[in-house]
């Protein structure tokens, strides 16, 4: 079985210089639900906001939140998780890679970054339960169950919409002007 490197389609990045305050800027990404695309997704979103001169903390926060949301879509939505074989090779934990796409939509408006990560995977049965820190439906994967907790901690706002069997959409937003609190933190 081969793992296909996702075919990433980038469409419609406009208004490159949308300033902090005013203009609206939007981008959309759609890629295969495979774990090698996790780093691509978070770096792409970070690059999208780079012209706003974000602080390192802001960039790290955004990357972590995107990484959590995309990883959730891949391993829970589409159940594509990976392990390593005897010789250190990356291979899917199941024999087949479940086909599916993860979609990211980013909107910059009024100095606020809105990120929407959606999949058409299996959905979440109980969203409140899923959002509890340390709760996980897959303890055998040795993950921490901190995904949603991290998204909440690193973004200003988090909203989850899901329907079992239909998919999940995670919406988060963050104000891109954190200079003040960064200085006061230490």
């Amino acid at each position: 079985m081969t793992v296909k490197q996702g075919s990433a389609a980038v469409c419609g990045k406009r208004n490159r210089d949308a300033a902090k305050g005013g203009e609206r800027n939007e981008m959309e990404l759609c890629f295969d639900a495979v774990s090698s695309n996790e780093s691509f997704a978070r770096v792409a979103v970070a690059a999208f906001v780079s012209h706003l001169d974000p602080t390192l903390e802001e960039l790290a926060d955004i990357k972590t939140a995107v990484s959590e949301a995309v990883t959730n879509a891949i391993i829970h939505g589409y159940e594509n998780f990976y392990g390593y074989g005897r010789h250190g090779e990356l291979r899917p934990a199941y024999l087949t890679v479940h086909p599916g796409k993860v979609r990211i939509r980013c909107v910059l408006e009024g100095g606020v970054l809105h990120i929407e990560v959606s999949d058409r995977g299996k959905g979440i049965e109980d969203i409140d339960r899923a959002m509890e820190p340390l709760f996980t439906t897959r303890p055998e994967l040795e993950r921490s169950g901190m995904g949603f907790a991290f998204m909440e901690a690193f973004m200003d706002d988090l909203e989850v919409e899901s329907e079992p069997g239909r998919g999940t959409t995670v919406r988060m937003s963050k104000k891109m002007d954190a200079g003040a609190w960064i200085d006061s933190e230490e």
Binding site: S35, S36, E38, S39, R42, L56, E57, A60, K63, T64, S67, E68, T71, I74, I75, F81, Y82, G83, Y84, G88, L90, P133, L141, E142, R143, S144, G145, M146, G147, A149, F150, A153
Partner: protein, 100 residues
Amino acid sequence: MEEFQIVDNCLMVRLPEEVDHHKAAYISAGADRMLLQEQVQHVVFDFEDTRFMDSSGIGIIMGRYKKIACFGGRVFAIHADRQIRRILTISGISKIVEIV
């Protein structure tokens, strides 16, 4: 392998630049193999090269802690930069990991 080294009775795990789900299984599997082979007591995670970590990294640390805690083992984090420290603190795992 360079990533996993035995120093005295510690297993040193040198983490990659980016610790995410994609890399996590490899690190966990490698560390567990060493823990079984060599009878070490403690695990030290070296964040020297690490610039990015998400909750998968917390999972790696928690998993290793569970494996050695019952034998009196401790888990350490070294060379963690500010961002990594933040992640360790926010997740609450700093209660079981000693950040040096």
